[in-house]
């Protein structure tokens, strides 16, 4: 036992809130319908009982294709309540992607999010402290080897980190937190789902994906006190509607990619509310949170150091969070490689100065598209598997952005390649442009020298 707040503590807090304030809103959906704490607890218990009756067992991974809906929240909690392992991924994932996640996790059961009819007098499954099954939740992220990563996270680590972040952000039961990013990502999971329910506040689900121009109106109309979003959406909302201060808003949290200083400053100017950057990772949750001064500092409980500092004092950022370490389901060799003496290797480059964390860049080939990580090897593999595609390379250019160069037989065109890729991969993984070329140059070692390819675009 790690002695940390874990799954049973989270559920105990939710149940206590339901007993004390049964009519308080737990989840407000994009269409305005609300689920109270009393209704949430009943729906979770009923859905968990249904899962158990269907044969689901404690410790078993259960796939939950997740959307930003109350049904998804109820189903995730129900899987956890019966001590199984929720495996979360985007509801719009392709069948190819879904099958790979489930295979890596060893999951044989998929539950389309539901709220089960509430029945009286049934047994009420609820997690107990010290249960025999490993208390995990599984989130997916991109890999670097062509295979996605399914991250098994212990609830002790998830709950501890989420609650400490919430303390740093000053969450209370009076907060209404507007969620604009996918719930199955660590950002929304750790900044909205777990800590808001722990503190008895209200999760307000924005339409997903939202229209950028709608964000100022949503902030005003939903009575949000906190909003979590990504730099792209904050920037687009600023351009669409330079606003006036929404009366109840007190805090805006940004993550997914570094927050440009200009966006943070313009936001504060337009809305009168601080926009604070957050640095996190799927594996660890919330690592660092910016203060009012804009400086990122580790979330309480989190330790950050660098490894292999260069002459500028920069190196790979290594992080330690309280609780059991993560594991990569289905890829145990990666779990070992990702850790060094109990520290997690983030793959991010940066430095630590007087308690401040400065993140400068990523190591390796992972591409970030509007805050979502993409593995070029996975995209190249999907392209090569298409009929008529003979060779390809995926790369990010300073000017060109995220593109592919493809050697393909007629009648392939850029549009036909996009259509074929869309059947296999989520659209955010598809390069912005797919350039057809007669052949790819190769060095004697088989590498593609990119210089001549970039010049063909000039």
């Amino acid at each position: 036992m790690s002695g940390l707040l874990g799954r049973s503590a989270l559920f105990e807090r939710i149940r206590r809130r339901a007993a004390e304030r049964p009519t308080a809103d737990a989840v407000v959906s994009a269409d305005g319908t609300a689920l109270s704490y009393g209704a949430l607890v009943r729906a979770v218990a009923a859905t968990a009982a249904l899962l158990r009756a269907d044969g689901a067992r404690p410790g078993e991974p259960v796939a939950v294709p997740t959307a930003n809906t109350a049904e998804s929240i109820v189903t995730i909690l129900a899987v956890a309540a019966m001590e199984a392992v929720p495996l979360l991924f985007e509801a719009n994932a392709t069948a190819y992607e879904r099958d790979r996640f489930m295979e890596l996790a060893g999951a044989h059961r998929l539950v389309t999010p539901i709220v089960a009819p509430i029945v009286d007098g049934g047994s009420r499954p609820w997690p107990q402290p010290g249960s025999a099954a490993r208390a995990e939740v599984a989130l997916v992220t991109s890999g670097t080897n062509g295979i996605p990563k399914v991250v098994g996270k212990h609830w002790d680590a998830v709950t501890d980190n989420s609650v400490r972040f919430a303390e740093a952000a000053g969450y209370t039961g009076a907060d209404r937190v507007l969620c604009t990013t996918p719930l199955h990502h660590a950002f929304a999971f750790g900044v909205v789902l777990v800590p808001v329910l722990f503190h008895g506040g209200t999760i307000v689900l924005a339409p997903h994906p939202p229209l950028p121009s709608a964000l100022p109106g949503l902030l005003r109309d939903t009575g949000a006190t906190v909003v979590q979003s990504v730099p792209f959406l904050y920037g687009a909302a600023l351009r669409a509607a330079p606003g006036h201060r929404p009366p109840t808003l007190r805090l805006c949290v940004s993550a997914g990619e570094p927050l440009p200083q200009t966006v943070g400053a313009a936001w504060r100017e337009a809305f009168g509310v601080p926009l604070r950057d957050q640095y996190g990772a799927t594996e660890l949750g919330q690592i660092a949170f910016a203060g009012q001064d804009g400086v990122l500092r580790p979330v309480p409980g989190v330790r950050v150091r660098i490894d292999g500092a260069d002459a500028d004092g920069e190196g790979e950022l290594l992080v330690r969070v309280p609780g059991p370490r993560i594991r990569y389901l289905g890829q145990p060799e990666l779990t070992g490689r990702a850790h060094a003496d109990g520290w997690f290797r983030t793959g991010d480059w940066g430095r630590v100065e007087g308690g401040a964390v400065v993140v400068s860049s990523r190591i390796g080939r992972r591409v970030v598209v509007a805050g979502r990580k993409v593995d070029p090897a996975e995209v190249e593999g999907a392209l090569r598997a298409l009929d008529g595609v003979r060779d390809c390379v995926v790369a990010v250019g300073d000017e060109a952005g995220y593109v592919a160069f493809v050697v393909a037989d007629p009648p392939h065109s850029e549009l036909s390649l996009r259509r074929a890729l869309a059947a296999v991969l989520s659209t955010y993984k598809i390069p912005k442009r797919l350039h057809l070329v007669p052949e790819l140059p190769r060095t004697s070692s088989g590498k593609v020298p990119m210089g001549s390819l970039w010049r063909t675009l000039a």
């Binding site: 939202p210 598209v369 259509r419 912005k432």
Partner: protein, 82 residues
């Protein structure tokens, strides 16, 4: 007031800035953007640009897919909110 034809030309011209001309002029007017592999991030940029171009008021329906499922849905959105 622009004609449907002018609006469609505007939508495709702005889409080309996100995806390139071949995709923007090759995608069917009613073909779902998702099956053509056009991502929501491209569409968010596109809608923001089109709202600026036409002075369209942001809609009450705040979900992207309510207005941006295809070229023709965007044309209808712009025509209805002018």
């Amino acid at each position: 007031m622009s004609t449907q034809h002018e609006l469609e030309a505007l939508v495709r011209r702005r889409l080309a800035e996100q995806t390139g001309e071949e995709v923007a002029y090759g995608v069917g007017a009613n073909e779902p953007f998702l099956t053509a592999g056009v991502d929501s991030v491209h569409l968010m940029h596109l809608v923001a640009q089109l709202e600026e171009d036409t002075g369209a008021e942001p809609v009450a329906e705040a979900e992207l897919w309510a207005v941006a499922t295809s070229v023709s849905s965007l044309v209808a959105y712009l025509a209805g909110t002018e």
